[in-house]
């Protein structure tokens, strides 16, 4: 053991990935510091049967009136005292062989899901079940690679080794079966009866892949047997399932210390929208007021400001769920709130003012109601909730814009001609400009006042095409450059810098474009304004690049040598890593903001474009 304090004293369970798998060993691990020696990414730390480590506190066998055995299956071959069963009833729930159940641990938010493959009673009258686990996507995210899983997709464990299955007593106060769940196999394996559509709708989860716990491979092939049970039992049953399907997610077993109850009944119908079964097994501390989809409230924005006040709905956990732990911290740090209160987690209302409408079309969306302490995570705010918001936004927008004065639809042939842009060279034009690098040209042009910024172009134009357009339409020879897209560019909106011959030319062009309307094909009026480029401030660092004051890194100079050493992956048990993950979360959040913004803007434009009576086509 060492004094591993330095920068590594971050407690182990904050380390990113393996937390999910290793939390099963958390109790067994004991001293936290010991764990920091594990290199988290590589090892599946022993999935100790922690159930065997903890002293069992079982309810007394006889005094549990809620339990009764079902159909017997047969006696054990080796040990005649063992009696196998096909089903049992506990707390009113019928659990049969090959059913899928929720197994919950007291400290965990999400229950595990497993398939019961063996039910028996030992000679000592202990009731046991053997459960083969399903993996959630978050638990295997490291090995997923590029595979995209559905929201409610699981992976069946296969292969040999730890993590495949567990044998538990049925009644265990710390962790036990808490409910049945409906898992449908959608694999196209010939041995699998294909599920019907209604089955899919009511399914809590689906699976079509296996995760081999030893080789850590994900495959769509099913081996012939898993945990010595024929694979056919893992597939869908042939006959219709008689079990009442409303069990999905409903914990009908009450645990005395249960900190959660499985709500999620109401969201069954939503499965269709792609808001998947995840919603059904989401824990809701207060099932009452927490509508996952966010509350949409329409408020009237402040009229006075011409500049639009902005904010977006953010769903930070629509990122890969490996950030769930980060989210936990974020939640905690942003303060605890009483359960009943809807906590608006880093979301702000979105107020847009549609200029021409005189203040009526104000939309604000608040999202992300997250309760305070106990429910620590929200796998819930999946992207689907965001898209839901979009749908609502769009609808609201449409409603508000729909009240705009209705233009008369006169079929009138427009008098202006359609100009076709072909390569255009003005006679006698020589190269006006020395071919300076664009950087300088832009600056020079800005000083001289000849720089114009054109917006709302088709982003797939090239610089030369822009030159031609301006040439033909405005009959001036110019030099143009399309602005390259970067992180923040709206992919519908192409921009170009255009340098005119003189500032008067630029002025006339701008005024011309303002007064009349240069309409490009497929309905894009060109917007022109004075071009300004940002001053090239050379800043020495990026926010987020931290250094300890007393230790000076030599960033400049020696760059080549330092390049490899300063560029690295972060190790997972360091503060650096934790911070990096926070940045990651912020990056993902911001890309979501932008996406939301762009989508909304696209919708607005589309709407308006749809009103064009005689659009030109390309």
């Amino acid at each position: 053991m060492c004094v591993c304090v330095s920068l590594h004293f971050v407690p182990f369970h904050f380390s990113l990935f393996d937390a999910n798998l290793t939390r099963r060993a958390y109790f067994a691990a004991g001293c936290i510091l010991q764990c920091t020696q594990f290199k988290a990414f590589e090892k599946l730390t022993p999935h100790c049967d922690k159930y065997q480590m903890l002293p069992f506190r079982e309810a007394e066998e006889d005094s549990s009136p809620n339990f009764s055995w079902g159909v017997k299956k047969g006696k054990g071959a080796l040990n005649k005292g063992v009696q196998f069963y096909k089903s049992f009833t506990y707390e009113g729930v019928d659990i049969s062989l090959y059913d899928c159940v929720y197994m919950c641990r007291p400290d965990e938010d999400e229950p595990d899901i497993g398939k019961v493959v063996k039910i028996w009673e030992t000679a000592q009258k202990k009731r046991m079940v053997k459960v083969v686990w399903f993996f959630r996507p978050t638990e295997v995210i490291h090995w997923l690679g590029n595979i995209k899983l559905l929201d409610n997709e699981l992976l069946l464990a296969s292969g040999e080794g730890i993590g495949l299955s567990n044998c538990n007593p049925v009644i265990l106060l710390q962790e036990a079966i808490t409910g049945k769940c409906n898992v449908v196999c959608i694999s196209t394996d010939t041995r699998n009866p294909q599920p019907k559509d209604e089955d899919l709708d009511t399914a809590d989860f689906v699976f079509c892949r296996t995760f081999d716990v030893r080789t850590r491979e994900i495959s769509e092939e099913f081996p012939n047997s898993i945990a010595q049970i024929e694979v056919e039992h893992y597939f869908n049953k042939e006959t219709d399932q008689k079990q009442p399907l409303h069990h999905g997610g409903k914990g009908s077993l009450e645990k005395p210390q249960s900190s959660s109850s499985f709500g999620g009944t109401t969201t069954k119908t939503v499965v269709k929208d792609g808001q998947s079964g995840r919603s059904t097994q989401l824990k809701k501390a207060t099932s009452s007021s927490r509508e996952r989809h966010g509350n949409i409230s329409v408020t009237n924005g402040t009229v006075a400001r011409t500049e639009v006040k902005y904010s977006c709905c953010i769903s930070p956990t629509s990122l890969s769920d490996s950030h769930a732990l980060k989210k936990r911290k974020l939640l905690d740090s942003s303060g605890t709130a009483p359960f009943e209160q809807h906590k608006v987690m880093q979301s702000k209302s979105q107020v847009t003012k549609v200029v021409e409408k005189g203040g009526q079309g104000n939309i604000s969306v608040t999202d992300k109601t997250v309760a305070g302490t106990e429910v620590k995570h929200s796998y819930c705010t999946s992207p689907t909730s965001l898209s839901n918001i979009h749908a609502l936004k769009k609808r609201n927008l449409q409603d508000s814009l729909g009240t705009a004065p209705f233009e008369q639809r006169k079929v009138m042939k427009s008098t202006s001609q359609v100009i076709e842009i072909t390569a255009w060279v003005k006679e006698g034009a020589s190269t006006w400009f020395k071919e300076q690098p664009w950087n300088e040209r832009l600056h020079v042009a800005q000083e001289r006042g000849t720089l114009v910024l054109l917006e709302n172009l088709d982003p797939s134009y090239t610089s030369a095409e822009v030159e031609d357009i301006v040439g033909r339409a405005l009959e001036q020879k110019v030099s143009a450059k399309m602005v390259q897209h970067n992180t923040f560019s709206n992919s519908l909106n192409g921009k170009a810098f255009v340098i005119f011959k003189s500032s008067e030319h630029a002025e006339t062009a701008i005024s011309k474009l303002k007064k009349r309307c240069l309409m490009l094909g497929d309905g894009r009026p060109v917007v022109a304004r004075r071009g300004t480029i940002e001053e090239p401030v050379k800043c020495s660092g990026l926010p987020g690049h931290l250094s300890i004051g007393r230790i000076k890194f030599q960033k400049l100079g020696e760059e080549m040598r330092k390049a490899v050493s300063t560029s690295h992956h972060s190790q997972s048990n360091t503060i650096e890593h934790e911070m990096a993950v926070e940045w990651r979360a912020l990056q993902e959040k911001s890309s979501l903001w932008w996406k939301a913004l762009h989508e909304k803007q696209a919708a607005e434009i589309e709407l308006l474009r749809g009103k064009l009576k005689s659009p030109i086509w390309n």
Binding site: E356, Y461, A473, N486, G541, A563, A580
Partner: protein, 200 residues
Amino acid sequence: METSDKEYVAFGEKVKRTIFIDNLSPVATEAVVKAALDQFGNVIQVKFIPNYLEPKNIGQAALVEVENADQAKTIISELSNSPFMICGMPRPVRARAAEAEMFDDRPRKPGRKIVCRWLDSSDPDFEVANKIKLTVRKQAEESKFLLKHQLEEEENLSKKQMETLNASYKKFEIIESVVSNRVATRLAERYRVRVADAEH
């Protein structure tokens, strides 16, 4: 200026094997980025995207062309799975597949026709067109605002982390000094508590 189909297709290939990286520190140069990514694959070229319209402290962006599309995909997934830092920590860089519009020297799409026309105020579409123009302007403002907000968020996070880092460093220094001047060992002997002797 017509370009041939072949050129256009070749450009498409190039796009596929180029990675777009942002959140780069302004002090990173092309050589740095190249060296950093050479660990993953064969980097042919690194070009920075000049930033004309946005404020300067959002970090640089670069287009990195690698040998083939598979390498590009691997790099992108590597960088997405585990945070990778270039030239400063802990803010990781972000990698995406490049898009054609990010490139500077795009060839024209062969066979493409562009048409346009002028609209006067008498034209029925004029009003709508004006509305579109206004909307575009408004959206530009919105984008600017969002960008500002994002920068603020980044600043905040950075400050917060800086505090955490400083606090941790202080703790570290304390412990280190205690260990190094053997106070810890003596105390341990006194209280009969085990402690490690050497640092790991």
